[in-house]
């Protein structure tokens, strides 16, 4: 064991004095991304529950998704959500140029289209309840409703967040904090569209065709 390459303890520097500190925005967005992945595990458990409760005996001779899912109705929800995500993206492109008006327009459009998605979902759930399909109907109906409404709850909180960001952009402008929050909201909103693809294809469409 030679000490040939060891630095002299008296003169060694333990850390880089030119270190500029953490990149605050990247540290926050990465942390938020990890949170979103754990949110994905919440959906994994709900998909697993739906998987084991989508056998014909799970519906207790009651209505199944083949009876109460209307693919084209739910497709309009898909269009609304994808357009909302696109509108948010347009807002982020405006942020790139530092345009406050562009960001506000993107946020407003994303909010309106997200609200359309939620309105269609609530109308659908009221319709199901009117036809006697509630969480009390059967295990299969519970799994269906809890999974789809957990997604809808995410959209609801996303809408609140969009409103909060509209006020913060107006009052504070593009500070490190508000820009970081716009970026984390971007990830949140995009993730909801990605989870919706799973919900739409494997719960609505597969349920309808079974």
């Amino acid at each position: 064991m030679s000490a040939h390459n060891s630095p002299d303890p008296k003169t060694a520097t333990l850390w880089d004095t030119h270190y500029h500190g953490h990149d605050v925005i990247s540290t926050r967005t990465f942390g938020y991304f990890l949170y979103l992945l754990s949110d994905g595990m919440l959906f994994a458990t709900l998909f697993a529950a739906y998987g084991v409760l989508s056998y014909s005996h799970s519906y207790y001779n009651g209505p199944t998704p083949a009876d109460f899912v209307h693919p084209w109705y739910t497709f309009t929800q898909t269009v609304a959500l994808f357009l909302s995500v696109l509108a948010y993206g347009m807002g982020m492109s405006a942020l790139k140029k530092g345009s406050k008006a562009g960001v506000m327009n993107g946020l407003i459009a994303a909010f309106v289209l997200g609200a359309v998605f939620l309105g269609l979902d609530i109308h659908d759930m009221m319709d199901l309840a009117a036809h006697g399909v509630t969480v009390q109907t059967s295990g299969g109906a519970s799994a269906f409703i809890v999974l789809t409404q957990t997604h809808a709850a995410h959209i609801f909180f996303g809408l609140i967040w969009i409103v909060v960001m509209m006020f913060q952009v107006m009052s504070k402008g593009f500070t490190t904090d508000t820009v970081g929050r716009l970026l984390t909201l971007r990830m949140f909103w995009h993730l909801q569209a990605i989870i919706w693809v799973f919900v739409y294809v494997f719960v609505y469409l597969w349920g309808y065709m079974s």
Binding site: S26, F33, A44, S58, F174, M209
Partner: protein, 120 residues
């Protein structure tokens, strides 16, 4: 992950937004969902084939959204987001797949099978 910009607008995660990318991701996902909806509502294929086709539609749509919307790739700035997503995928699939498999085996051994009672 250190960039040291004072102006948050110049941060790479802001600057990586692209109008063309957002439109590409939007169009790919929307057309795939349109195709899946049309095939399912017209019962274009027998159930197993249909499930296979809509699964492919979902997978391509999700990959397009992750690439064009979330901008996840192997660039220096995004590599850790991509690594954590890649590590997340097996957890997601195993949670759903193993739970579903356990219960399908349980049902097979404990439920009296009536005609037409299989996988709904």
């Amino acid at each position: 992950m250190s960039h040291g910009h004072d102006n948050p607008i110049l941060h790479p995660e802001v600057q990586m937004a692209s109008v063309r990318g957002y439109f590409t991701g939007f169009l790919i996902s929307l057309l795939l969902m349109l195709a899946a909806t049309a095939m399912v509502s017209s019962h274009a294929f027998p159930p197993f084939g249909l499930l296979l086709v809509i699964t492919i539609c979902a997978a391509v749509s999700i990959i397009a959204q992750i690439y064009f919307l979330l901008h996840l790739d192997i660039s220096e700035h995004n590599i850790w987001n991509t690594v954590s997503l890649v590590l997340f995928i097996p957890l997601f699939i195993l949670t759903i797949g193993l739970t579903w498999w356990m219960f399908s085996q349980l049902y097979l051994r404990t439920m009296p099978m009536m005609p037409g009672m299989g996988m709904h």
